[in-house]
Symmetry: C2
Subunit: 344 residues, 2 copies
Amino acid sequence: MRLNKRIAILSPVAWRTPPRHYGAWETVAGNIAEGLVARGWDVTLFATRDSVTRAHLHAVVDRGYEEDSAVDPKVAEYLHISEAFEHASEFDLIHSNYDFMALTYSRLVKTPVLTTIHGFSSPAIMPVYEKYRDGYFVSISDSDRAPHLNYLATVYNGIDLSLYPFHELAGNDLVFLGRIHPDKGVHLAIQVARLAGLPLLIAGIIQDRTYFREQVEPYLDEKIRYIGPVDVPGKNKLFARARALLHLNAIPERFGLVLAEANAAGVPVIAMDLGSCREVIEDGRTGFLVNSVEQAAQSLERLSEIDRAACRQRVERCFSIATMVEAYERVYAAIFDLEAAKQS
Amino acid sequence: MRLNKRIAILSPVAWRTPPRHYGAWETVAGNIAEGLVARGWDVTLFATRDSVTRAHLHAVVDRGYEEDSAVDPKVAEYLHISEAFEHASEFDLIHSNYDFMALTYSRLVKTPVLTTIHGFSSPAIMPVYEKYRDGYFVSISDSDRAPHLNYLATVYNGIDLSLYPFHELAGNDLVFLGRIHPDKGVHLAIQVARLAGLPLLIAGIIQDRTYFREQVEPYLDEKIRYIGPVDVPGKNKLFARARALLHLNAIPERFGLVLAEANAAGVPVIAMDLGSCREVIEDGRTGFLVNSVEQAAQSLERLSEIDRAACRQRVERCFSIATMVEAYERVYAAIFDLEAAKQS
């Protein structure tokens, strides 16, 4: 099948694909493109012009609008999305990793459109999904599903394991890695570190300045440090020093790429039992699922129960690019069958 | 021609069509629709659901996003614009009165798309016009044209003269009518009123609160009054009391609907000689074009030279709905000819 099918992968243009620091949607869209290329597909990636890919790159936006204030987000989005749809006839499938906006072009082309819903950015966008509910949808976890939408499958995000070397020995520090935003529970990670009397390294872009100033900064000292955003090598340095990753999200996680990345490096994850965390972390095997700061602190005493090699093995099995792309190949095949049935 | 052609008029959804108070783009889109219906065309107006029209109304957005905070602007725009294009095959022409966004759907449909450019909302949007420069464009004044764009014509905005009764006798007050925003020169109107020692009535929505607080509010007293936004009857009350309309815009005007409305009521207009004002106001005949506050104040002494009936006659001749719609009929005919030539 794959040799004569042409796939367009539509990535967001907030950041480069793959992103330098932050940008989960672009990360996954890039991984899908690379994984498909590796398996012999003819893939065109629609992304910013500075993106790095082995697929054909098709770009009309020079740089991510979050990275370059000269790029107008609204103009970039309309030009970028429409460009992909204007080239629809060159593809057998458009696989959108964009937010709801791309759906509004989908009925104007004959090419089938698959949307991986990387998250519902706001309840206000639900009417768009309501209108286009007859489209093809994939969820990134079983927990992050909207009722009344027909999903073809859940396909877990896959990470590039070669980027995250395995560390056999545990480090000493606790690590927080993610956006500095109340949703991500940085303040809860700080509470756990203080309860446990352990050092904590905090890394990530500051998305909510007030939150950082009021609930993070006052607690920074020799033991609890904020080191700014980190790229992949930076993440690996953190993983090498990590006793555990603290991911005490305050709202349901949609997937949680960083959980898989930490596990890939052999780092156990202590995660709030909300949303998809239960699907990514196997409680007691690759980390601990908790419901409170106290439970999180207690679980730190049980870290010796976690087999670090088992953490990596689970990521290799469940959250590798190959696993993800094989799942998408099954979804694509289902769509091609459904489309062929429509024609006949 | 008109009897067998179906026209879609795409109006913005910031406000109802026609708007209750402010909303120039919706006003003109509504006037085009009504004017075409009056002349026997089959017209569908894409606008908010609470719009009032004799055309067929097609709506997916309940209320204008500027009028109802429950309406998400981004979601409303994407749903509204795409809806019109999804129905493209039902029309012989889509006449867009929307900002640049609608252009990004235009190549996905076979129906020709005419865009009346009601203004370039930001230099950042020019790349969109650059890309779609092979489209059909109309400017609303000769002065508001972008270089490198091919325009089929300038079609001046038309107003509904029946809404603005003629007042033979001049009133005593100076009137400012427009958005409270530095671009509109409310502060300059205040300076003129103070120089001339005449009362000034200021009406319009406050778009820039800081500007209002710092450059308008401190000067309000018994003689210089701010009365809030006004609807059409409110405008007519102002025109009945008006000695002249002060329109001392600080940036080039694109068209200036209120200039035509005031003239229709017989009210002379003192306007800054920037942008389209020279096209709407005939200097010395329907008002005065000035370059400074001092000139504006001096021109107040020459108001007796203006024949109020001539003001209305000029609007009837140049800026009526009928005049506008006849001009659009010529543009439509040219498009149908060009499209027919493409087919053959």
